[in-house]
């Protein structure tokens, strides 16, 4: 069975339909499967429910699918960087389901592992817990959250081989490994496509069993959302603006 496809459109051929649910890896603009997102935009598929920690920024990442109004609903933990998102949400064109970031990560991990639900303290006693089953364990209140499985997962990796084994780079790993496990079909874009045996088996993070299709994106453009630097003469300093 051949998993390697010549380009992103070919890798998604036959998988896309209106109204489907798609998981997209990445944190901010770091580790997003941008080439696959572009191919989804170009396919014209509509009414998508997208599960992703963030919603890109205007015109970049999932922002592309917001601009083209292909998204019906987002399941995310934070969407504060996207003006188009705000406009469409306030106009009632877009639904949002906020999940605490750890709950989102665990729902995806659970979905991929065949776990239909779990209990967590996160969100107990808040709006997030309303309407959810509550249980007490060892004197603490917990709420039940459901596992998530998507029709399709799209992920970005640093290296992959033709078997679909994946290795990620630095903080571009984030949600990608869990999402790879939680798609009925998972398509991975990789910056370096290698032959089996080139990756050290001890270093593989996502085993190929979770990846059905793979595409090489040699010239992936990566974006920096907050470019923060220090001068060579300066002592280390952190800053940060309040949101």
């Amino acid at each position: 069975m051949k998993k390697v496809y010549p380009d992103a459109s070919a890798a998604l051929a036959g998988l896309l339909r209106d109204g489907m649910m798609i998981m997209a890896g990445g944190f901010g603009l770091c580790g997003i499967p941008e080439t696959l997102i572009k191919a989804i935009r170009d396919s014209g598929v509509r009414d998508l429910t997208i599960i992703s920690n963030n919603a890109g920024i205007d015109g970049i990442g999932l922002g592309m699918l917001l601009d083209s109004k292909q998204i019906k609903k987002m399941i995310s933990s934070y969407v504060g960087e996207n003006k188009t998102f705000a406009q469409q949400y306030l106009a009632g064109e877009l639904e949002i389901e906020f999940n605490p970031q750890g709950t989102l990560a665990e729902r995806i991990r659970a979905g991929g592992a065949g776990i239909p639900a779990f209990f967590t303290r996160t969100g107990a006693g808040t709006l997030i817990g309303e309407g959810k089953e509550e249980r007490e364990f060892d004197g603490q209140g917990y709420i039940m959250e459901r596992g998530l499985v998507a029709d399709l997962s799209i992920v970005h990796a640093w290296m992959g081989d033709s078997e679909g084994n994946l290795v990620y780079r630095k903080t571009a790993r984030n949600f990608n490994p869990m999402m790879a496990t939680a798609g009925k079909v998972t398509v991975a874009e990789v910056e370096h496509l290698v032959t089996p045996g080139d990756l050290n088996p001890d270093h593989i993070v996502t085993p190929g069993i979770f990846v059905q299709r793979i595409v090489h994106v040699a010239a992936a453009v990566k974006h920096i959302e907050q470019r923060t630097t220090r001068k060579r003469t300066e002592a280390p300093a952190g800053t940060g603006e309040e949101i």
Partner: protein
């Protein structure tokens, strides 16, 4: 004189202990990393999947694959490790992080915290805040004592909660309070910024609180090398 943002950060840094694993929120909490006391080694956790991170990179050395939870470019240090978001929140939700320092819009005398949404205004999302306050061993809030003229330390929060009974300590520009979030001792004022009076604090605080018998009044020492 009320404390400046830097002095509040320096006071929060006094809660660090050698060997702590710490998560710092955006805003004043980020400044805490500039005031880590001498002789204390801590590892900073970033919830996007990094433990142990260094300062901002030199110009020209920014790496799009290497960012913190505020999406800012950062650097590796010798102790750095990378992991998935699920592992990251296993650290946070599993009680492996010793200290979380974060900002707030409101804190109640029972330890309730509100910092993620204002109904009727645009909602950005809670990110990792609900997980941090539910899972981290000690939660310290650093915030301005009032918002314009509105008190932020309240009997009960009026905004939707980020967590119920989760805050252990509040550091404002006027002083420091502890909260007995699991017990019944409520909120206690333990420290006052230099030249701030108890009357001023009382007039700007809606929450009820006790005053510690050994109440301290002093500005924290700011390490000169780190002062801006």
């Amino acid at each position: 004189m009320a404390w400046t943002r830097e002095q509040m950060a320096a006071r929060a840094a006094q809660e660090l202990r050698d060997g702590f694993y710490v998560n710092l929120g955006i805003g004043i909490p980020t400044l805490v990393s500039n005031y880590i006391p001498d002789g204390i080694s801590v590892q900073l956790q970033s919830e996007n999947g990094m433990l142990g991170f260094g300062p901002f990179p030199y110009e020209g050395e920014e790496d799009p694959d290497l960012i913190n939870a505020g999406k800012q470019t950062v650097t590796e240090i010798p102790t750095t490790s990378y992991f998935s978001s699920a592992d990251s929140f296993a650290m946070i939700r599993g009680g492996h992080i010793d200290l979380s320092i974060l900002g707030a819009m409101q804190v109640a005398e029972n330890g309730d915290l509100a910092n993620w949404t204002i109904p009727g205004k645009m909602v950005k999302g809670m990110g990792g805040a609900m997980d941090l306050v539910a899972g981290v061993k000690k939660v310290v809030v650093v915030m301005e004592h009032i918002a314009k003229t509105e008190p932020k330390l309240l009997r009960r929060c009026t905004l939707p909660l980020t967590g119920a009974r989760v805050v252990d300590m509040v550091i404002t520009d006027l002083g420091v309070f502890t909260i007995d979030k699991r017990g019944r001792s409520g909120m206690t004022l333990i420290e006052v910024a230099a030249d701030v009076t108890l009357d001023e604090i009382r007039s700007k605080t809606q929450a009820s609180y006790k005053i510690a018998q050994n109440l301290a009044q002093a500005a924290p020492v700011i390490p000169t090398a780190a002062a801006e």
